[in-house]
Symmetry: C2
Subunit: 328 residues, 2 copies
């Protein structure tokens, strides 16, 4: 029997989940839920119903795992605990500082309802997190380095768009190649914010806006840009839409540590991602953990989990025997 | 209360475990077991007893986890099931083809005794395996690539030493840089054995041996060298001991796959290790999994496990709260 998946919210993430579920031989898409008028939402799967979010409670016996595809700022903090009362749920909540609070809320709701919830699934938090945990456990005497990019940062792009005179903007976060090389070589460098990443901005101005003033506003913006070497390019909206609509992203997690009686042996662990589509990779991770959620639930596990609490074998559609024979 | 570790066998691995356990704040070394005369074995830890392996059964109530530090060819196939009758055990069994059989033996012994056993812990099998499983689950439509090196292959060095006229030898396995680059660029190349690795041999001849004949014997040896581009250097024993005594190693695991309605988005996941000391890194992994073994046992888990069956959080000495707040 296939694992029946529901999707809550049909944007880039919802669509990515749909594609990944349809590609998985052991899963089937049961329904897509939306807060829009269902008849206005066109999905890729011809035979799957689009249902209003208000009717989700009628689907509890037709869905094994509901994947929440909303945003971390306003949707997930309320949605995940709410739907954990009805379904096993998974989300990609990525506001690192608020994870402990979100975990507590989802844990309480899921335990009371006898469901399982897996939060903060994706690549960071997600695959990067578990690489940090594995590497820290193996090399306790060492340093962590996480680099992001090259890829568009939504938060930084939004910050530029809020400046007066800016019509549209995209901001790329770019790791500094010399910093990557120093870490990779085991030099254990102490890196300032400026030494780790640069920021490159593509900005469309409103008619009559003062380019020099906007550039200065960007480059001196505290937290977002002041501590970085920032480049600003002014381009037309046509160029922005044509050349900067991609959703590529990626990054690097390093642990550099030492062992030996006199700490004489250095070791470098590196994990990296190069992604053509940030949302589709994220949803591929979500769908693998949906498989795990169903299995853990069937084993009697309840409450909130993260990727750190789930053994790798639960993500695979292969049996333990197959994994040991072919991938171990 | 600290996790009490026993070490069975005191070579490079046993010594590496000793160093890693002494560096772990939540562990203590209870005893080192040896098949040699105990008084002839000098260990690093002044207050830890060295005990004959025959007396291990007297230590069952003083040891939480016994780490088996023997070899995969002859020691571990019998030792791990044998000691799983007395202790929770961990080993680094690395004969990939025999893992299913070894798993079954350890599982039967551990279940009968009410113990836990974790086998094939290290980096390959081990960290490389779990990276293969994670990446396969996330990108089901893709290709796996594993490269090893640069590092000494014990098996290939031994094969050279068996040739008539060879006094001593070391063989390095080296990944082909252009192959790494093609995989990293998402080109999904089909690579022959020759295109993935080269082999470099440093050979000390017996007096009067025929260098040209030995070189040909090496380069045409089936399975070991015939399918590779192999370089042979003849050097003095002094040079071999001085320049090729290191135990550096490493390697790369890639998963290159695609997502999207028309498979239009490529993704590359890369995991790599650069290790100054192969045995010390292996033992660092063993010790992290010893921590997991104790916890799983305390939770009531029994039988044989591999790294694929164990959630990342079990390896860490930090609590779930700490991990979620700082590493997730």
């Amino acid at each position: 029997m296939k694992t029946r998946i529901g999707i809550m919210g049909y944007g880039n993430l919802g669509r990515g989940v749909e594609i990944a579920v349809n590609a998985a031989p052991d899963m089937e898409l049961a329904a897509v839920f939306t807060r829009r008028a269902p008849e206005t939402v066109k999905i890729l799967s011809p035979d799957v119903p689009v249902v209003h979010a208000d009717d989700a409670a009628n689907w509890t016996d037709k869905i094994d795992v509901l994947i929440l595809c909303g945003g971390s700022a306003t949707d997930l903090p309320t949605q995940t605990p709410e739907y954990a009362k009805l379904f096993n749920v998974i989300d990609s909540f990525d506001t690192h500082a608020r994870i402990p609070e979100h975990f507590a809320n989802v844990d309480a709701a899921a335990k009371e309802a006898g469901k399982i919830g897996i939060i903060s699934v994706g690549w960071d938090p997600g695959m990067f997190s578990l690489n940090r945990v594995y590497a820290n456990a193996i090399l306790p005497d060492g340093n962590d380095y996480t680099f992001w990019g090259k890829g568009i940062s939504q938060g930084h792009s939004d910050a530029i768009r809020r400046i007066k005179g800016v019509k549209n903007a995209k901001q790329y976060t770019i790791p500094v190649e010399s910093a990557l090389e120093a870490v990779r070589a085991g030099e254990n460098p102490e890196l300032t914010t400026r030494q780790k990443h640069t920021r490159e901005c593509f900005v469309v101005l409103e008619e009559g806006a003062d380019a020099a003033w906007v550039e200065n506003e960007i480059k001196t913006m505290p937290n977002y840009f002041a501590d970085y070497d920032t480049t600003v390019h002014f381009i037309s909206e046509e160029e922005l839409l044509r050349d900067h609509a991609g959703m590529a992203h990626g990054g690097f997690v390093f642990r550099s540590g030492c062992t030996g009686v006199n700490k004489e042996h250095k070791h470098v662990i590196e994990y990296s991602l190069k992604l053509d589509s940030n949302p589709e990779f994220t949803t591929s991770v979500l769908v693998a953990y949906a498989r795990a959620a169903k299995r853990l639930y069937d084993e009697g596990q309840r409450g909130c989990k993260t990727v750190l609490d789930i053994a790798p074998a639960y993500l695979s559609d292969k049996s333990g025997e197959e994994l040991r024979a072919h991938l171990l």
